[in-house]
């Protein structure tokens, strides 16, 4: 019995000269909340589409719940529900009709399935709009419909490709509450997002892709603690000081009343304080914090630039 919800084995995907994915191999454990991160064009959506069977990799294999996505596509597609990034809809059908049709594709019908689709409509606050054509809906509503459609067959693995892009605070909360609930019930959640604070708060493990290559694969906590830097914020008064060279080289950001230094983790705070005194900085306040996932992410993805 495999412990992997999804297993990527040496996946490459070429579009002519462009190598969208380059020999990607890793596993997503069953029941985990996994983040797939990377800048635009990193290959995240290509990898997700390959996992969902929407594109065929140039080489390599993907197994979803142990089912090969090409050789045993029925098993892999039944195991996976994808909420795509694009707000796609079908102008000919209402929300309820679309859910019934999608259920049918998966061979599901009958009162039990009707009950489940009604539950989905209710849970995603779509009941009032159930008989509306999907092309008349707002962006947020369309996003909810896509989530409901991805869940009609109760997949073990749920993939959310940028689910909160352009959605309001209410929907974001509804979405995360629902996603946490599904995760608690044992579903594996794979998330891509540009809001890294979301990934930091939700994901137990992350993979960082850049230019089609896997740059990092670690538990989120390990990735953050392994980071070599911490950040010291200093509020000052009396105008912008002249920092001595040891501090100047560590400035991460600077405004008229605040400076943030990016310093090595092992460096004692006394050393920093000494340099601040030497720079004649009129201190108002000083705080220290570890790196955020966003800062780690930027470090990793800017290595090749």
């Amino acid at each position: 019995m495999t412990t992997a919800a999804v297993e990527f084995r040496s996946i490459s995907k070429n579009y002519g000269e462009l190598q969208a994915l380059n020999n990607i191999s890793f596993q997503v454990e069953k029941g985990s909340f996994f983040g797939l991160l990377g800048p635009n064009g990193a290959g995240k959506s290509t990898l997700i589409n390959a996992m969902a069977g929407l594109i065929t990799p140039t080489s390599g294999d993907i197994l979803v719940n142990g089912f090969h996505t090409v050789k045993n596509y029925r098993g892999s597609r039944k195991s996976l529900g994808l909420v795509p990034q694009e707000l796609i809809s079908d102008p000919f059908f209402t929300i309820k009709e679309l859910l019934d049709i999608q259920s049918g594709y998966f061979g599901l019908k009958g009162p039990e399935q009707k009950q489940w689709t009604s539950e989905l409509l209710e849970r995603l606050a779509l009941s009032d709009k159930a008989n509306s054509l999907t092309n008349t809906l707002s962006g947020g509503m369309k996003r909810r419909v896509l989530i409901a459609m991805a869940l009609v067959h109760k997949p073990d693995v749920i993939v959310l490709d940028e689910p909160t892009a352009g959605v309001d605070v209410d929907l974001r909360k509804t979405l995360w509450d629902f996603t946490k609930e599904l995760h608690a019930k044992g579903h594996t959640i794979i998330l891509t997002t540009h809001y890294l604070e979301e990934a930091e708060a939700l994901c137990e493990k992350v993979a960082i892709l850049d230019k089609g290559q896997l740059k990092a694969l670690e538990k989120t906590s390990d990735l953050l603690s392994r980071h070599n830097f911490r950040y010291i914020r200093v509020n000052f008064e009396g105008g912008e000081p002249y920092f001595i060279s040891e501090l100047q080289s560590r400035v991460d950001s600077l405004s008229k009343t605040e400076v943030v230094f990016k310093v090595e983790k092992e460096m004692p705070l006394n050393q920093i304080l000494g340099w601040l005194v030497e720079s004649k900085v009129h201190l108002k306040d000083i705080t220290s914090r570890d790196a955020t996932l966003e800062e780690v992410f930027l470090d990793i993805t800017s290595e090749d630039k």
């Binding site: 597609r77 039944k78 000919f92 049709i101 049918g104 594709y105 019908k109």
Partner: protein
């Protein structure tokens, strides 16, 4: 591993039928009216100038041709426009994410194309039967050719829909291939009235055999033998099925 996803295939078939039915004015009634206009214009204005089969008026001769032309064009339109719209809107991925096999996908789409082809063809035929003294000598053969032709053209429409990336390309396929082949398939005339070269050229047009075989079911008269028409039509159906299944299994232009 399920052997055949009957429920999924049926769901896709019903969805495709409901898709064209929801815009029935455009997909059913408009083509019927267009065909009846052809009947009105050709049947009354130029009927005296064209020789057709012995013992038949031109209008009687024309009706089966028009019915078949309507079937050919509408079954083609059904699959091709559905696929290109689904590709452009992105909602083809709803089907592609599901466990529906290429064969089930093919059967569902062709089934819907057959339903539309027959619905529109029947509309023209009913008017023809009421307005003119038209007899169906071999109804079984008529139905067989109607089914074969709509399935074939549903298949051709699927190939065009898969290979086209935008409406413009599909329109070129339709205007420069389907319409000329349909108009030159003997819908409006018997090829025996053509000069020798064009008679020979007509034999290379697969649509001609569908029209000729269909017409044989009404009159027991045709330009070529019914066996040849059946053989060519059935062979064409197998060929287009094979091509589509290869495209779908390989995921050409839809899973790449």
């Amino acid at each position: 591993m399920m052997a055949f996803n009957f429920v999924g295939c049926w769901a896709l078939f019903v969805k495709e039928v409901r898709r064209f039915y929801s815009v029935a004015v455009q997909t059913i009634f408009a083509p019927i009216v267009s065909s009846l206009l052809y009947l009105l214009i050709f049947g009354t204005v130029i009927s005296a100038k064209i020789d057709v089969f012995t013992g038949l008026s031109y209008s009687q001769f024309l009706i089966p041709g028009l019915v078949m032309m309507t079937i050919l064009q509408n079954s083609f339109s059904n699959t091709s426009s559905s696929l290109i719209q689904a590709k452009m809107h992105g909602n083809l991925s709803f089907v592609l994410l599901s466990p529906i096999s290429p064969l089930e996908f093919y059967i569902a789409f062709i089934g819907a194309a057959v339903v539309r082809g027959l619905a529109v063809g029947l509309g023209v035929l009913v008017v023809g039967l009421f307005a003119f003294d038209l007899h169906m000598i071999q109804p079984g053969l008529i139905l067989l050719f109607a089914l074969l032709a709509s399935a074939i053209m549903g298949g051709v429409g699927m190939t065009a829909g898969i290979l086209s990336d935008k409406f413009d390309q599909l329109s070129a396929f339709q205007n420069f291939l389907i319409v000329p082949l349909t108009f030159l398939s003997g819908v409006f005339y018997s090829i025996s009235a053509l000069p020798s070269f064009w008679q020979q050229a007509s034999h290379l047009n697969p649509f001609f055999y569908m029209v000729d075989g269909f017409r044989y079911g009404f009159f027991n008269q045709s330009d070529v033998s019914i066996g040849l028409s059946l053989g060519v039509s059935f062979g064409f159906f197998l060929l287009i099925t094979f091509i589509n299944l290869i495209l779908l299994y390989k995921g050409v232009k839809i899973r790449d």
